[in-house]
C-alpha cells in the first residue's frame, strides 16, 4: 500500500494541490481510501491526517470503507423516480440482498444512492465502476446482478447497443444517448478545429475581448455575468500567471447539455478555452469535469492530444510567438457545490469544495490566488462562434438583454426528452409544443432545476431569458398525475440538505428545518403557522455565502408561491398550533408494558 500510494503521489509531481487526482486514483484502485493511504499522504505532504480526511470525507465518491468490487450508484433524482426508479431500486436490493449504503458480505457489490448523474433523458440510470447504465428495468437489473456474480468486467456487461454519435466510439463505448433534438448556431457543425485560433492570432487580445463584449453574451451557467467583461477584468488584474477554467461540473438536477457537448463537440469547447486564454493572457486551462462523466476521460484526452499534435495547444500556437496554452482535465468527486466557481477552484486545489468569500473574485484571485476566469462549457463553445461570425451576428439571435441561444436539457413527462438549442425569448408554451408535452397533461414545469422556479400553467407564457425566466438550462416537465410536494419538492430539499458544504450556519441548518416542516404538513399535522414559518425561515437563507445556500429553500418557497393550494389543502383548518408531537404514540410502549391506558 505504502509503495503504491507513493507512486501515485509521484505521478502527480508530489504536488499537494493535486490531492483530488491522487485520491481518485486510490479510490479507483482499492474501491475505497484506506486509512494507510491517508497516513502516507499526510506524511508526504507534511499535513495532518485530519487535514487529508477533510477533503476525503467531503466528496460523495470517496469512501473510507470498501464499496465493493462493483460499486453501484443508482441515481435518485426526481426524474429517475418518475421513470420507475422505485422498482429498479427494489430489484437491486432483492437480488443483491442488501440495502442502500451497504456492501454484500462477500464484498462483491455495494449499493448507493447518488444525486442526478446527468442522464435525466434516459432514466433510471446508474453508474457502476465509472460506466453508465441507462434505461434500467427490473429485468435489466437482474441481468446486471447475474453478471456481477459471474465476475464479468463492467465493459462486458452491456448488452444494449452503444449510444449514438461518439458514444459508440472506441474510447467511450457507452450506452448513453445524446438525444440532440434541435441544433442551433452553437451546436451547428459549421466549425473545424483551429479555425477560430487562426483568426484570433491575427488580432490583439483586446480586440478579441471587444468582439465578445459586442456580442453581449452572458455566462451560461446560470448567473449570467457578461463574458467579455469577465475576461477584461481578468486581463487587467495583476498576476504573474493567469488561468482559464471550464466549469463542466453540471450538477443542477436535470441538466445534461454539457455532457452532450463533451461527447460531441469537445473540439469546439477546447477552442473556446484557447480563445479565452489568448484574450486574457493565460497559459493554462483546466476543465473541471464532474466525476459522473469519468467515462468520457479517454475520449477527452485523445481530443486534447490531437489538438497538441496540430499545435492548437502547446507552445507558440500556430506560429504565434509567445502564445502558449495547454489544457488539463481535472475531475471532481461528487459535490454539487463545486459548480460554484470559487468552490470549483478550491476543489481543483485539492481541498474541500467550500465557496470562498467574495471579494476578492476569482478574476482577481482565483486558482493559486492568481487571476482566473471560470466559464461554463456552453459559454466557451458560444465564444468560438462569436469569433468566427462576429458579435453583431450573435446579437441577431435572442432578445436585447439575452443575446444568442441557449441549450436546454429537457426531461420529465414529455415525448422527446433531450438537448435543444433555442434562441432566448422562447416561451414555456413553445417548449411544451416542441418536446411533445400536451398542455392539458402538464401540471407544472421546473425551470432551472431545484434552485430555480416551479411554475404553473398560468405562467407558461413566460419566456426564457435573463429579463424573465433566467435558467442554466434545466427544464423538468411535471405531468398531471405527479404529487408535487412528496414527489418533487421533498426530493429537491433532500438534495440541497445533502449537498450543502456545511460551512455557513444558515445553509447547514435551515433547509433541514424546512424539510421537517414540510414533512409535518405532509403528515397532516401542519397548521397555517407552519406555512407562515416556511416563508419566514426561507428568507434567512438569503444571507448564505453562495448560490447554493441562497437558493436552498427555493423548492419550498417556489411551490408555496405558485401552488399554495397544495399546502393549504393539507393543513388542519381548525387549529392554529400543532406541536407535531404525538403523546399517544410516545407513550404507547410504556402504556403497553404497564397495562395502563391513559385517559386524555
Amino acid at each position: 500500500m505504502k509503495a503504491e500510494v507513493k507512486k501515485t503521489i509521484e505521478k502527480y509531481g508530489n504536488d499537494k494541490f493535486r490531492l483530488m487526482d491522487i485520491l481518485i486514483d486510490i479510490q479507483k484502485e482499492n474501491g475505497y481510501i484506506p486509512g494507510e493511504a491517508i497516513t502516507q499522504i499526510a506524511e508526504d505532504f507534511e499535513m495532518s491526517e485530519v487535514d487529508v480526511e477533510q477533503t476525503v470525507s467531503f466528496y460523495h465518491f470517496f469512501s473510507q470503507k470498501p464499496t465493493g468490487k462493483y460499486a453501484i450508484f443508482l441515481n435518485n433524482s426526481v426524474v429517475a423516480n418518475m421513470m420507475g426508479r422505485a422498482e429498479v431500486a427494489a430489484t437491486f436490493m432483492k437480488e443483491l440482498g442488501i440495502k442502500f449504503g451497504e456492501v454484500t458480505p462477500d464484498g462483491s457489490a455495494g449499493l448507493f444512492n447518488t444525486s442526478c448523474i446527468g442522464m435525466n433523458d434516459q432514466e433510471p440510470a446508474a453508474i457502476i465502476n465509472n460506466r453508465i447504465f441507462t434505461r434500467l428495468t427490473p429485468f435489466r437489473v437482474k441481468e446486471i446482478v447475474r453478471d456481477i456474480r459471474e465476475g464479468k468486467d463492467v465493459d462486458e456487461m452491456n448488452v444494449q447497443d452503444w449510444g449514438d454519435g461518439e458514444n459508440s466510439s472506441d474510447l467511450i463505448r457507452s450506452v448513453v444517448s445524446n438525444n440532440i433534438r434541435k441544433i442551433g448556431p452553437v451546436l451547428d457543425r459549421d466549425f473545424t478545429a483551429g479555425q477560430a485560433i487562426e483568426k484570433i492570432i491575427k488580432l490583439k487580445p483586446e480586440e478579441v475581448i471587444e468582439e465578445v463584449k459586442k456580442s453581449n453574451m452572458r455566462g451560461r451557467g446560470g448567473a449570467g455575468f457578461p463574458t467579455g467583461l469577465k475576461w477584461e477584468f481578468c486581463r487587467n488584474a495583476p498576476g504573474e500567471k493567469k488561468y482559464i477554467f471550464c466549469n463542466a461540473d453540471e450538477g443542477e438536477p436535470g441538466t445534461f447539455k454539457d455532457r452532450v457537448i463533451l461527447t460531441e463537440r469537445p473540439r469546439l469547447l477546447f477552442e473556446g478555452m484557447v480563445i479565452a486564454g489568448y484574450a486574457v493572457g493565460a497559459s493554462e486551462g483546466i476543465v473541471y469535469v464532474r466525476y459522473e462523466y469519468k467515462y468520457l476521460e479517454q475520449h477527452l484526452e485523445k481530443i486534447l492530444q490531437q489538438a497538441r499534435e496540430a499545435n492548437y495547444l502547446g507552445k507558440n500556437i500556430l506560429g504565434k510567438k509567445g502564445f502558449n496554452f495547454d489544457i488539463r482535465i481535472q475531475f471532481g468527486a461528487g459535490a454539487y457545490v463545486c459548480g460554484e466557481e470559487s468552490a470549483l477552484i478550491e476543489s481543483a486545489e485539492g481541498k474541500r469544495g467550500e465557496p470562498r468569500d467574495r471579494p476578492p473574485f476569482p478574476v482577481e484571485k482565483g486558482y493559486h490566488d492568481m487571476p482566473t476566469v471560470v466559464n461554463n462549457v456552453e459559454t466557451l463553445c458560444s465564444v468560438v462562434k462569436v469569433i468566427l461570425k462576429g458579435g453583431e451576428w450573435y446579437k441577431s439571435f435572442g432578445t436585447n438583454e439575452s443575446t444568442g441561444t441557449k441549450l436546454l436539457s429537457i426531461s420529465g413527462d414529455c415525448k422527446f426528452p433531450g438537448v435543444y438549442e433555442v434562441v432566448w425569448g422562447f416561451s414555456v408554451n413553445d417548449i411544451l409544443d416542441m418536446v411533445g408535452a400536451g398542455k392539458e397533461d402538464v401540471q407544472a414545469v421546473q425551470v432551472g432545476g431545484p434552485s430555480g422556479a416551479l411554475i404553473s400553467p398560468d405562467e407558461f407564457n413566460r419566456t426564457l431569458g435573463y429579463e424573465d425566466l433566467a435558467t442554466g438550462g434545466s427544464l423538468i416537465i411535471i405531468g398531471k398525475n405527479r404529487d408535487i410536494l412528496s414527489g418533487i419538492v421533498l426530493n429537491f430539499m433532500d438534495f440541497f440538505i445533502d449537498e450543502s458544504c456545511g460551512s455557513c450556519s444558515t445553509c447547514r441548518i435551515v433547509p433541514t428545518l424546512m424539510r421537517n416542516k414540510l414533512n409535518k404538513i405532509l403528515n397532516a399535522r401542519g397548521t397555517q403557522q407552519d406555512i407562515d414559518d416556511l416563508t419566514e425561515w426561507g428568507k434567512i437563507l438569503k444571507a448564505s455565502r453562495c448560490g447554493l445556500g441562497q437558493t436552498a429553500g427555493n423548492p419550498i418557497l417556489s411551490s408555496l408561491k405558485n401552488f399554495p393550494a397544495l399546502y393549504e389543502e393539507k393543513i388542519q383548518k381548525n387549529k392554529s398550533f400543532d406541536s407535531g408531537f404525538d403523546l399517544n404514540a410516545a407513550i404507547k410502549e410504556s402504556a403497553k408494558a404497564t397495562g395502563r391506558i391513559p385517559n386524555f
Binding site: E46, M47, S48, E49, V50, D51, E53, Q54, S57, F58, A335, R352, D357, P359, I497, D498, E499, S500, C501, G502, S503, C504, S505, T506, R508, I509, V510, T512, L513, N516, D533, W537, K539, I540, K542, A543, S544, R545, G580
Partner: protein, 237 residues
C-alpha cells in the same frame, strides 16, 4: 495603510483605513457588529453569517468585506437584527447547549449573543442531535454537543510545522470538527489553552481544570457582549 476611506454605517459618517474589514472599521468608529466565527488575528471565513450587513443594498459579511470609499452600510436595522437573532437561535437548536452545566457559561459568545438579542425561546424546534464527546485527547475534551462549526480552532491552532490539529469532517448537517489523533497527542499546555480560548463556546475544554473563575464573575456576566466597543470614544480618528 495610511490611506483613509469614508463610509456610513446606518447614516453615521465613519472613517477607516482602506482595506480594513468592515467589522474592524466599525469597531474603530465605536460601532459594534456582532461576530461569532471571526477572531482577531486569524483569517476571516464568513461562516456563521451573524455579521451580515447590507452594503449598498447587498447582503455581505462584515468580517470578510473590506471597506471602500462611499460605502453605505446598514447594520442596526430591523430585518438585519432579526436575521442575526434567527442565526443565534439556529445555532442553539442545532446542537445541545445546556448553559447551566457548561464550563464556558459566562465566557461563551453564543450565550452572550443570546442574551444580547434577548432570546427567551428559539423560534425553531430543538433538534436534540445525538453527538459525541471526544475525551481521547490527553489535554482537551472536544464536546461535539456544543460545537457550532465556526472553524476558529481549525484556523488558529497549528503545530510548529503549520499542520492543522483540528479539521472538518464530512459535509452538510453531518459536518463536525475533529481533533487529529496523532498530532493531538503532542498538544502543548499552551496550545491546549489557546484552543479553549479561541473556541467561542464550550466545545473545547482543557482537562482537569474547571470553574477557576466562578460563575458571576466572568467576561459577559457583568457587561453584555459588544458593550466595550459601543462605549469606546468615537473621536479616535
Amino acid at each position: 495603510m495610511s490611506q483613509f476611506v469614508r463610509f456610513t454605517i446606518d447614516g453615521t459618517e465613519c472613517m477607516a483605513s482602506k482595506g480594513q474589514f468592515i467589522v474592524e472599521a466599525a469597531k474603530e468608529n465605536g460601532i459594534y457588529i456582532p461576530t461569532l466565527c471571526n477572531y482577531p488575528g486569524i483569517k476571516p471565513k464568513g461562516g456563521c453569517r451573524i455579521c451580515t450587513v447590507r452594503v449598498n443594498g447587498k447582503l455581505m459579511t462584515a468580517c470578510t468585506t473590506p471597506v471602500a470609499e462611499g460605502m453605505n452600510i446598514e447594520n442596526d436595522v430591523k430585518d438585519i437584527r432579526e436575521l442575526r437573532k434567527s442565526i443565534v437561535e439556529l445555532l442553539l437548536v442545532e446542537g445541545n447547549h445546556f448553559c447551566p452545566a457548561c464550563e464556558k457559561s459566562g465566557n461563551c459568545e453564543l450565550q452572550a449573543l443570546a442574551y444580547r438579542f434577548q432570546i427567551m425561546v428559539p423560534r425553531f424546534p430543538f433538534q436534540f442531535p445525538i453527538r459525541k464527546v471526544d475525551a481521547s485527547n490527553p489535554k482537551i475534551i472536544k464536546d461535539q454537543n456544543r460545537c457550532i462549526q465556526c472553524k476558529r480552532c481549525i484556523r488558529a491552532i497549528k503545530d510548529e510545522k503549520g499542520r492543522s490539529i483540528f479539521a472538518y469532517r464530512k459535509r452538510s448537517s453531518s459536518v463536525e470538527v475533529v481533533v487529529d489523533k496523532k498530532l493531538g497527542k503532542q498538544l502543548t499546555d499552551e496550545l491546549a489553552q489557546k484552543a479553549m480560548d479561541v473556541c467561542p463556546v464550550g466545545s473545547i475544554l482543557v482537562k482537569e481544570k474547571g470553574f477557576i473563575i466562578p460563575i458571576g464573575e466572568r467576561k459577559y456576566d457583568k457587561k453584555p457582549i459588544g458593550s466595550d466597543i459601543e462605549n469606546m470614544s468615537v473621536s479616535k480618528i
